[in-house]
Amino acid sequence: MAATRARVSSFSRNVSTETSQNPGLKHGPNGTMFISSGIPDLDKILGGGFSLGSLVMVMEDAEAPHHMLLLRNFMSQGLVQKQPLLYASASRDPKRFLGTLPSLASLKGDKSSDLSHEKDLRIAWQYKKYFGEPQLNLNTNNGGQHDYCNDFDLRKPLDRQFFSGSNVDCVSINDSPNLTALQDRCAGFLAKFSRNEGCIRTAGRIAIQSFCSPQCKYSNEEWHMLSFIRSLKGMARTSNAVVVVTFPPSLLSPSCSKRLQHMADTLLSVKTIPDEDKELAKLLTGYQDMIGLLNVHKIARLNTQVPVILEATTFSLKLHKRRFLVLECLNQAPVDGSSGSSYGTSGGCSGSTKTGSLDF
């Protein structure tokens, strides 16, 4: 064996102070690092957040802009933690989108009532501790900028101080004949977060909205778009950044859409919920509060071959107090509407934790 080379064995643990110095980063399994998605529930579902070096793709629903909620929270989280951001969209003035980003939630009272309610449920779900779920240190309430993941108030805009500096770059792809210019901008941005350096000073975020939208001149050049995403994925993999791209699969050919889905490290999709669907209302608890559904198709498995198996892959999107985006497991309503069913739980107990999903 190559004993002459000084190699760090796989059993050595680098005691690093990266995360204590940078609250926006968290160690993940298999030598990966996470940054927050900006949605506490989504971080929990994904096992910590988005892995640095990964490509996250979000399949849009053409009938509703729910993907914008994910994108906004992702961008706000980065700005609040001073993580540089590159934002691209087909809008003529993408900078204006920054004014719609949500602000940090100021009141902790809303969440604390949920936490005390959680304590009441603790006895019923106590067995969960034996499953060895990772202890995620989210919502430390130490102060907005020092948390790994923050709550964002969708009804208040983000303070301008967070995006008036030089750590935000906005690119319009509306007039570009092809993606070469955007690819160059992304390459330049990602080069600043190259993994060749020993320590991670900060992480970068790229957010590309509605990538294949028909407003773009290249939108019918599918191989060109695939080639761009492939090179973006390759560049991201060797950098300390996360790239989030949303795209409308209904506007692409099925094979192109499938190729993009296979390229993604983490693949999510958002769907609308029809208004006043009586069948769904009977089937699901809390249906009237749902604004949409989030499906987790695939979670990044960097440096490992072990897939992440979730207890549930479909979650409801709700706005808690019309301000905070929460994700909840779908709960099947009691079949005959009577109380005492062991499967169904009432909407009031759902909170923002995973409760009583229909598992056998």
Binding site: S10, G31, R237, S255, K258, H262, M263, L267, Q305
Partner: protein, 216 residues
């Protein structure tokens, strides 16, 4: 020997099969060498995965038993340029052939592995003729030098018939076809996927055996 690994779903990866084959090839014979064309993951990813499997890829690379060609950023030149050049597929193949002929002189058993054919297609800008040419060239190597050729693809991309020639040709040439699917009984933390193996003799496919695999 030609082996094609196929996974038909976005959430299932037949990379487990590639890892298993790669690991076995190192332990099977001291004179075996693997030429790995990586389109999907960088070396650091495979290094970590194999460390957990008890195999030191970096050491194998240093000992010239594992030749890793990083194709993540490889791109076929644009349409206008391509007309004047000899051929993108030919240049990639020349690179492979140079390695193979050098190794063959040392009487090594060589396995060529492509970790994702669909990424190769994207690198070729969707030119199915380039990809088919490359596959055909690699196929000649298996007969000329006795190499093994293993490639991973995604069948669900071709269900609409787009570029289906590539997957059909791969299945035609394959001696063994491995199909990875999620468990028919649903998701499980212990068992991640089930496999179907088909061996082809004289153009007839007969199922060999199925299997369920855990990646732990």
């Amino acid at each position: 020997m030609r082996l094609k690994c196929d996974n038909g779903r976005v959430d299932t990866s037949s990379a487990l099969v590639l890892h298993h084959i790669l690991k076995r090839s190192f332990s099977s014979s001291p004179s075996s060498v693997v030429l790995f064309l990586a389109f999907s993951q960088p070396f650091s990813h495979y290094d970590r995965v194999f460390r957990k499997l008890g195999c030191n890829l970096a050491a194998q690379r240093d000992n010239d038993r594992f030749l890793f060609l990083d194709m993540l950023m490889l791109q076929c030149p644009g349409e206008k340029i391509r007309e004047t050049q000899s051929g993108w597929a030919a240049s990639v193949f020349e690179q492979i052939e140079r390695v193979i002929t050098a190794l063959h002189e040392d009487k090594k058993f060589i396995s060529i592995i492509i970790d994702d054919i669909s990424f190769l297609e994207v690198a070729a800008n969707g030119s199915s003729s380039d990809v088919l040419n490359l596959l055909h060239y690699c196929h000649t190597l298996t007969s000329e030098y006795g190499c093994a050729f293993i490639a991973l693809g995604h069948k669900d991309i071709y269900l609409n018939g787009d570029n289906a020639a590539i997957i059909l040709e791969m299945e035609y040439y394959a001696d063994i076809l491995v199909r990875a699917e999620p468990l028919s009984t649903g998701l499980a933390k212990d068992v991640h996927e089930q496999r179907a193996f088909s061996r082809f003799q004289k153009g007839e496919g007969e199922p060999l055996r199925g299997g369920a695999e855990s990646s732990n």
